[in-house]
Amino acid sequence: MTRRNIVGILGLFFTLLFFSDCKKKKTEKEETDESFDKSAMLVNYADKIILPNFQSFQSVVDSLVVAFNGFAQQKNTASLNALRKKYISAYLKFQRVAAFEYGPSESENVRTNFNTFPVNINQVNSNINSGNYDLGTVDNIAAKGFPAIDYLLFGENLTDSSIVAQFSTDPSAARRITYLDACITEMQSKINIVVAAWSNGYKTTFVNSTGSQIGSSLGLMINQLNFEIDLLKNSKIGIPLGKKSLGLKLPEKCEAFYANKISVALAKECLLNIENIYLGRSTPDTDGLGIDDYLQHLGAMHGSVSLNEAIKNQFTAALTKLNLVDEPLSSSINSQAAAVDAAYLELVKLLVLLKTDAPSALGVIITYQDGDGD
């Protein structure tokens, strides 16, 4: 065999190998060669969304504290209702910061410390009765934060006056008010730490970490966005709906079950926050540089439409379906099971797009393990 023969055979072989695989033509993507200004995008996130959201959450927590002090001084149904109102607005605002669990929030474990639900009422009651507890321990994770405040302010089928009585005339009243105080104060001190850390240094760290590598700001944001949509789909809707319990409805697993009128609103806030993060949107009409622009810039596709279009449509679809679900969610899961299920299915589709398509198109790396190289 001459050398020329070998070259010829190899050439033929490669050609065959190549054409054996060429079946379909792909639709070419529209891409630009310019690089996307990731730095400007991160500045938008930090300056227009993350820090302002934290600050406005901080201020509602401050007014929650004020309302608590008012209730502690004058325990009556009026001050109770004033406190409840502040609790509700704080809980709603919390949904706007829950997805920023990196940097300072991660060190303070904000999501876990503020909102592990359903609340463990046995733990809450035993803490109150003993008067001896440390909210920082693992045992108390489901006995503090918003879910515990929810239970303390609304109780199980109690009238407003009996709630007031629990805090004023009950033998454990003093311990109960101390416990409520401890729950609120812990949140306040944690959010103060987070806001201070963001303003003094972490913002710079966040904005400068422009890569797509492990631990980059984009990677952290995407990872937390996925975590949050997962929470929304599972904890806020799926679990009460019976998705993990053979269809058996579990109303007591609803977020803010004792207030029993804001679970759907909380879910919507959560979804809106996820959408705002995706779009880089700070107020309804200020849409800055965000993940959507980055995906658009990369020319990522989903079938025949752009991935960005698909994701935006899916946000709309999910919100539309969620809007059809009435409060309280604990009843809707039975009375409007089909409507809740429809919202759930749209959230599943949204989750797939955000968790699978977006990171894949962005090339962000979330895992620390080595990959297969060359």
Partner: protein, 448 residues
């Protein structure tokens, strides 16, 4: 004529210095890799923390040890690697390294990497090579072991193996996604736009094409050039540049350094003798070279011939086994592993598993995080054989929890090289009843 030529090529005496240097380089690199693996906490996250493991088909009996056991295995690996480098108790340490390393890799296919497969093969081959008969502690302990030359094939097996790795990696790149669409590099490279200097280049489409074509040609051509002593210096320069570039862009750990170090075996024996001379002068162990030819016994020669032949026949056939299965290889991954297919696809997915109870007619959507690590879930969502393993685990788990003969289905959405997510498998199939046998085509994987 050619047979005689081939025979004399394989059997002609060759100096053992290249093999000795290879042995030391391999040992030191493996020592570093094992230590790095432990320091990164991966022993814990990959082998101790997970509740479920995904063993390879036919190796389901391989189980991880407890925490102490796993750390002991890694400690022994480090010791074995060091002993290989020193050439002390060489056969035992090479055998130990091969067995332990392969054991660890067989525990969970989540962690499968072609690099690890390569290390398993090299350590397997090393067991049978006289790499300890020159410049080793074994020789200092037992002068009878010492040899300066040995039949050429002892060095050639390593070279052939390296050849196969590169060449098959190159063959795998001959496909339309890689060459015509510059995928997945076109997705991966722009993610590095923040890098100094090169950052502004990586977003350019032509750069992705250039990288793709260069990578393909490099892999196909470099193994031939490595065999040519005339071009070895320039070839090696390409090896260094290529692997450093990949290490810059991709998350591939030690592999670039391993390839850069191990390809030195293609350098001339003089090059390697100089290295050893230098080491001798540093270590103050002058030694006069007395030529001696190591000839394996007749029996060893015959068995090694069979062993190496069978090994390389398998090596050449296995990457082509994918031809036995219909469908898109990247999509179904039937016959994907053990074929030196690297960097070929950006694939991601989300899988929802459902446990159906026949008695109540209800279903449970499984929270995968309860059972799987992040990496396991990620890998499982795009690999059909892992979905079967997971379904079988779920069936056992929920049977234990009191369900009677539950049916396990899954809905999975996968995106491949920027296709956008689409349904991956038939959502009605009871995955717990499917088989991972090589003889069975997974018909329940949808067409791409």
């Amino acid at each position: 004529m050619t047979v005689i030529k081939l025979k004399s090529y394989l059997l002609k005496p060759t100096h053992l210095a290249p093999l000795a240097v290879f042995r030391m380089a391999f040992g030191i690199l493996m020592l570093a890799s094992v230590i790095r693996f432990m320091v990164k906490g991966w022993v814990h996250t990959m082998y101790i923390q997970p509740k479920v493991f995904f063993p390879f088909y036919g190796f389901e009996w391989i189980k991880p040890l407890d925490a102490t056991g796993m750390y002991l295995v890694f400690a022994l690996l480090a010791i074995a690697a060091l002993l290989i480098a020193l050439g002390l108790f060489y056969r035992i340490s090479a055998t130990l390294f091969f067995l332990l390393f392969t054991y660890v890799e067989l525990i969970d296919k989540t962690n499968y990497l072609n690099h690890y497969y390569f290390i398993s093969i090299i350590s397997f081959l090393l067991i049978f090579l006289p790499a300890h008969r020159y410049f080793s502690l074994d020789v200092r302990l037992n002068k009878n072991l010492k040899a300066t030359t040995a039949p050429n094939y002892f060095v050639l097996v390593i070279k052939f193996q390296v050849f196969i790795v590169y060449f098959f990696a190159g063959l795998a790149k001959i496909n339309s996604d890689w060459l015509l669409h510059a995928l997945p590099l076109r997705i991966w490279l722009p993610a590095h736009s923040e890098m100094p200097v090169i950052g502004s280049f990586v977003t350019k489409t032509w750069v992705a094409y250039a990288f793709s074509w260069f990578g393909c040609v490099y892999d196909l051509v470099i193994p031939f050039f490595l065999f040519n002593p005339r071009f070895i210096k320039i070839t090696y320069l390409f090896v260094i540049v290529f692997h450093l570039a990949t290490s810059l862009f991709f998350n591939i750990g030690m592999f670039p350094y391993i390839m850069i170090s191990l390809t030195t075996i293609f350098f001339s024996q003089n090059f390697h003798m100089q290295i050893i001379q230098r080491l001798r002068s540093i270590l103050k162990m002058p030694e006069t070279e007395q030529a001696s030819f190591y000839v394996p016994s007749f029996f060893a020669l015959k068995s090694l011939r069979v062993l190496f032949t069978v090994h390389f026949v398998i090596q050449v056939i296995v990457p082509f086994r994918y031809l036995l299965y219909p469908g898109n290889l990247y999509w179904t991954e039937q016959g994907y592993r053990f074929s030196w297919r690297v960097m070929l696809m950006e694939k991601a997915g989300t899988a929802f598993f459902y446990v159906h109870d026949k008695t109540s007619g209800g279903q449970i959507e499984v929270d995968n995080k309860t059972y799987l690590s992040y990496m396991q879930e990620k890998m499982m969502a795009t690999q059909p054989d892992m979905m079967i393993d997971y379904a079988k685990f779920l069936k056992a788990e929920f049977t234990k929890q009191g369900l009677k003969d539950p049916v396990i289905t899954a809905q999975s959405f996968v995106t491949l090289n920027g296709s956008g997510s689409r349904e991956f498998i038939d959502p009605t199939v009871d995955l717990s009843r499917q088989s991972n046998s090589f003889l069975q085509n997974k018909t329940w994987v949808k067409n791409f």
